[in-house]
């Protein structure tokens, strides 16, 4: 009976030591904020104003991430390609993006990159319609630079930036698969493409899912940078609110807790997915 009791105390001690207190801390912050928002009118105003930007923040992140995934996969494959041209092109892109601060990249792509591409396209269209080729007549119009919305430019900037990061994740994932897998596939007569598609990538992608999840969370946070382009995401709207009402504490506390809630929920979901994958592998 006494032994039983000391064992129980021991168990409680272990539980107390391993309990994720940090998570309780975050939950406490979230709950306190919710209470404050519900009870204090000034916080309520700030929250109601700022939450209008949520859909822009979330959709910008999701769209950019999907584009970055495609860009990253192609670039990652290019990084390990035997083709000298593609390999160097992919490496050039990755190194350029990694060497420039994200904020600078966003300015550059939005105000130099996108207009440059649009001007180039316009010049091409003008030349084609001037050449009198069939199919290139009055149906094509010259795109005005002003007609490209800042939100589109922000998505391009985020995609291009994260494409380079994701490329490195995909490359590492592919290289983590033992050489024997490629050899076995090729020895059966599969082409490089088939071996990649059916043997290497399914294993590589499973390995890099946690890293991709991390980068999705990073991207959600970095999407706040697009506020410098006056895209009305939650950061931009919180700045507007603070500037107009001078209620800085209300605006930025609400903003910070909004991001925190989203990122903590996402990392929780990622943990569940990871655990499920591990279980599947053990089976």
């Amino acid at each position: 009976m006494i032994k039983d009791r000391s064992e129980r105390i021991q168990l409680i001690k272990v539980r107390l030591r391993t309990f994720p207190w940090w998570m309780a801390g975050i939950a406490l912050i979230a709950i306190l904020t919710v209470v404050v928002i519900l009870t204090e009118e000034s916080y309520q105003d700030a929250f109601l104003f700022i939450k209008a930007g949520l859909s822009i923040t979330i959709s910008t992140t999701v769209i950019s991430f999907l584009i970055a995934l495609a860009l990253g996969l192609v670039t990652g494959l290019g990084r390990i390609s035997n083709n000298t041209f593609f390999r160097n092109l992919a490496t050039l892109y990755v190194e350029i993006v990694r060497g420039i601060p994200m904020l600078v990249l966003i300015f550059f792509i939005a105000f130099v990159g996108v207009p440059g591409v649009v001007d180039g396209l316009n010049a091409l269209v003008t030349r084609l319609s001037g050449s009198g080729l069939p199919g290139f007549g009055s149906s094509l119009f010259v795109l005005e630079n002003d007609a490209v919305p800042m939100r589109t430019r922000a998505i391009v900037a985020l995609s291009v930036t994260y494409g380079a990061f994701l490329a490195e994740i995909f490359r590492a994932g592919i290289q983590s698969i033992g050489r024997g897998q490629m050899e076995a596939a090729r020895s059966q007569g599969m082409s490089y493409r088939q071996a990649m598609r059916y043997i290497i990538l399914p294993q590589a992608i499973r390995n890099v899912l946690p890293a991709l999840g991390n980068d999705f969370i990073s991207m959600l946070k970095d999407s706040s940078l697009v506020s410098v382009l006056a895209v009305r995401d939650i950061t931009q709207i919180a700045r507007l609110y603070a500037g107009r009402s001078f209620e800085f504490r209300e605006a930025y506390l609400t903003l910070a807790v909004l991001y925190l809630t989203m990122t903590v929920c996402l990392s929780f979901i990622m943990k569940i997915i990871e655990r499920r994958i591990q279980k599947n592998e053990q089976r």
Binding site: A185, S187, Q188, G189, E281
Partner: protein, 248 residues
């Protein structure tokens, strides 16, 4: 063995790695239906030779003919020829994300373009041949090493190969599992399929080989029928090697 047509001809094949001549001009003819066992000390080039046959290792010199067709560097030709040459690896190299059955059907379906039902029927027949049809729905990780290697053999057989290459197929196995794999290989050898086996299993070489090839320093030192090879080796280097491994 009555057939005189060669399945494989190697002519002065060279493989140069930076700093090392892994294959230093190897010529070898393997007739249809022959079982060739290659032995030799580690680093002698025997695995490289095997991997040059299906060009997993690109040769840097010499010529290779498979069933009368000269190998070029054309990737399409290589893919086609490789689909006709089965290979069994030291570390099995099963596809861990696929079930045993899918391991055996995948290449049949995407390389030979066989319909699913036909590929599966063929896979089950090969699994019966290696003695583990009940493992079809398992994941490779659930099987023992010996079972995994038998699946790898079934996977190679399912492509209906002209030539089977074994690269030290029992070297990564626990001792108690070596026998089950060797038995499968011995049974295969007696069906008349052309096989080249790199191994350290001298018992297998005696029982299954039509000819034993001894390699050292990237060259073929001696090639003889197993009785002659083991009982009356003609080369000094062969004698030295045999005394070293048979002493153990």
């Amino acid at each position: 063995m009555n057939s005189v047509e060669p399945m494989l001809v190697l002519q002065d094949v060279k493989k140069h790695f930076t700093g090392v001549e892994a294959l230093d001009g190897v010529s070898l003819t393997v007739k249809k239906g022959q079982v060739i066992v290659i032995i030799g000390p580690s680093g002698s080039g025997k695995s490289t030779l095997l991997r040059c046959v299906n060009q997993l290792e690109e040769k840097t010199g010499g010529e290779i003919w498979i069933d009368g067709e000269r190998l070029t560097s054309n990737p399409r030709q290589l893919d086609r020829i490789r689909s006709q040459i089965g290979m069994v690896f030291q570390h099995f190299n099963l596809y861990p994300h696929l079930s045993v059955l899918e391991n055996i059907t995948l290449a049949q379906r995407i390389v030979k373009k066989l319909p699913k039902s036909e590929a599966e029927a063929n896979a089950m027949a090969q699994l019966k041949r290696v003695g583990i049809p009940e493992k079809a729905d398992c994941a490779p990780a659930q099987l023992s090493g010996g079972q995994q290697q038998r699946v790898a053999i079934a996977r190679a057989l399912a492509m209906n190969p002209k030539l089977l290459l074994f690269d030290e197929p029992t070297s990564a196995l626990d001792p108690e599992m070596i026998k089950e794999v060797l038995e499968v290989m011995l049974a295969l050898a007696r069906t008349g399929i052309t096989m080249i086996v790199v191994t350290h299993e001298m018992g297998f070489a005696r029982a299954a080989a039509d000819e034993v090839v001894f390699m050292d320093k990237g060259q073929i030192v001696e090639k003889a029928r197993p009785q002659d090879f083991f009982d009356h080796p003609t080369q000094e280097r062969t004698r030295l090697f045999l005394s070293q491994i048979l002493d153990r």
